[in-house]
Amino acid sequence: MSGGVLIGLILGTPLIGAVLISLCGRWPNVRETVTLTTAISLFVLVSQMIGPIAAGETLRLSLAEPIPGLEIAFQLEPLGMVFAMLASGLWIVTSVYAIGYMRSNNEPYQTSFFAFFAIAICGAMGVAMAGNLLTLFIFYEVLTLSTWPLVTHNRNEAAKQGGRVYLGILLATSIGLLLPAIIWTYSITGTLDFTPGGILELDSISPLAATLLLTMFVLGVGKAAVMPMHRWLPAAMVAPTPVSALLHAVAVVKAGVFTITKVVIYIFGLDFLATLPLEKFLVYLAGFTVIAASLVALRQVEIKRMLAYSTVSQLSYIVLAALVLAPFAEIGAAIHIVAHAFGKITLFFCAGAIYIAAKKTRVDQLHGIAWRMPFTMVAFTIGAVSMIGVPPTAGFVSKWYIVAGAFQVDNFFVLAVLAISTGLNAAYFLPIVFRAFFQAETVPPAKDHGEAPWPMAAALTLTAALTILFFFFNGPVVDFEKGILEVAS
Amino acid sequence: MRNNGILRIVARFLIPLILLFALYIQFHGEYSPGGGFQAGVVFAAGWILFVLIYGLEAGLKVIPQRAMVVVMACGALLYAFIGLLGVLLGGHFLDFAPLLPSAPKGAQQAGIILVEFGVGMTVATVVMLIFTMFAGRKSQIHLIDGIPDSEPVTYPEMNQDNSANQSTDTAAETRD
């Protein structure tokens, strides 16, 4: 199969899935089968690309040329490969989980839920495989718009409010900052292709303007949730948990940091960025976000909101790592995308499972719950440990690389941020674990409950297992990423 | 006014004269000031004078409203037709030369006379029509004003309108 066809299929599969899902709305079983089939075939298709990419082939597909000299084109590289694998693989798990969640909660509008979910995945795939900034931007917006119906799924006042903040911030940043940044770049360089080593040069743009441009990119990618553009993420927590789990812990936010990483590596280029005088400012901003978001998370009582702020903080790790501009840190950024995905999706799955089984949403209600839902809480613990960055979990690996990267360039600010945030992470995750395992139930639950339905329990167990497995088997991913850096620098 | 004898007699002299003058302006337009437009207006003025004296009903008996609409369209169409004739005979739109290839001047004259006649037709009838509409409107209003205010007014026309409305709705419904 030629590369172009493969890319086309990867983009088309979720779309066809979405159409079929909306057509099968009347028969839930058929619909769910379609969802799962689509998810699995997508994963298989994406994994077909590993071979060629590892062999250094270029897969390219160009669809149209909406603006003279600018194509809607796709070109896969290792970083995108990882992202695509992650999103498509976790889609399967999340689908299983979502089926359990939606059914046992008797949610309305399930058909549109699954359909928009598929479209959102298509958006994520497009972002992952984009061959230039324009294409990336297009699918970035597809992702934004297709997740709005998911965020407002409940169609009540709270959902409406959340949806407003969500769409407002994401569209405002992308149209208001990202788009002009892209057009500016285009008008300077005449191209938007992702080119190893970057397309911006010192003689075409003054350092000050370049810094401004970089700031526009970093803030314009609202999905990366760098403060002060992070507000949408807690707001999006009104969505059903599967949405929070896959999209707001994996696909959407990762699309954000992925975009920033891509821009840093392929548009600016590490060497060029290193010459910029004010680039540190963004490092500080990201570092500030890490700490501040952790502090806010500390004070949350709702599990999902706490997780959301934790996500904000973890995302800025990645941004921070990307902006450290050391090869190791870039690898760390890429790996943290994976590591955080596994950990955070586990945590969200657990939160959803607790909600479905026990109807509990607050941290202070979890006393002794581990004895009723052992799988769930063990998985939660694994996820939490990974967030803190303790071996043998995925989170440790990425932190390792980021720290190593910071040492490469002697960036002690980053080291300090990492140290402090690790402490803060521990401070808000461990009490929950402690409470769940070692404290007695204060209030008897409304109904006697055990684990959540099996699809959910299975899904969360699987992701927890992945979190641990990644610690041991991260070699391929690391090798993969080293490849790009060799090309890049 | 209608019963004023003097007016009637004066009008009986004047109106034919006015109409004659109109025709003179119409067809003598190439030699002296005047042309289709002025002729149309003057012609209409004669008719309006007639209406003012003999009443709208009498006026409409001479030239019914429907006829005005038709003639008004025909005037414009006559103009267009002359224009198209030029195209059909191989020239440009409104090119009169091909009408009489042997005598270009004559062709131009013929074209001008014909289009001016079209202008005259349209202008005369439009002016008459506009006047009719305004004058007719007045009588309709007086009719309604005659109904005492205290009564809940029902407008027969309105109801018709309404039912027409509904019937269209249903028609549309079935088509859907």
């Binding site: - | 190439e30 437009f37 003025a45 008004m72 103009y79 131009q108 509409m133 309108d161």
Partner: protein, 180 residues
Amino acid sequence: MVAIGVTRIRDLFAATMLFAIYSLLSAALFVLLDAGDVALTEAAVGAGISTILVLAVLTMTRRYEHPSNTVNWPALAVVSVTGMCLLWAVSDLPDFGDPTNPVQTHLAPYFINNVYSDMGIPNMVAAVLASYRSIDTFGEVIVIFVAGLAVYTLLSVPPRTPPKPQPKADANQPENRGDH
């Protein structure tokens, strides 16, 4: 001047009469300016048709204008500024009646010299109107046709009297303003 009278008088009937006089005067002016055709038209239209129509309307509406004694200063300001511009502009216009005007030297000679050889008719206005620029005149016929059609469609709708009862027919009609 008569025009000022038109603006000042609140009695619309009188204003109409003044307006008719004004039209006649301008028709006379047109004659002085050698524009016979235009004069004829202006007399017929301005003094005749327009007047009759306005009178017809006035019999249906009120004769007196709603009193508003204040001078509309913003409007006056706008008008003065525009007037200033125009006065400023006309100072660069060529002198009145000067035979060396661009108007007289560019296209006019063509018409004056060629009309007879092209068409064999003496009235240049008719020639230009109906042949050289006949598409304009076609447009003019269409304009007057539109006017007839517009008035016809507008006024053949059965009348309803002033606001008293909102006719029932309105119930299923969209009232597009929010305050209803």
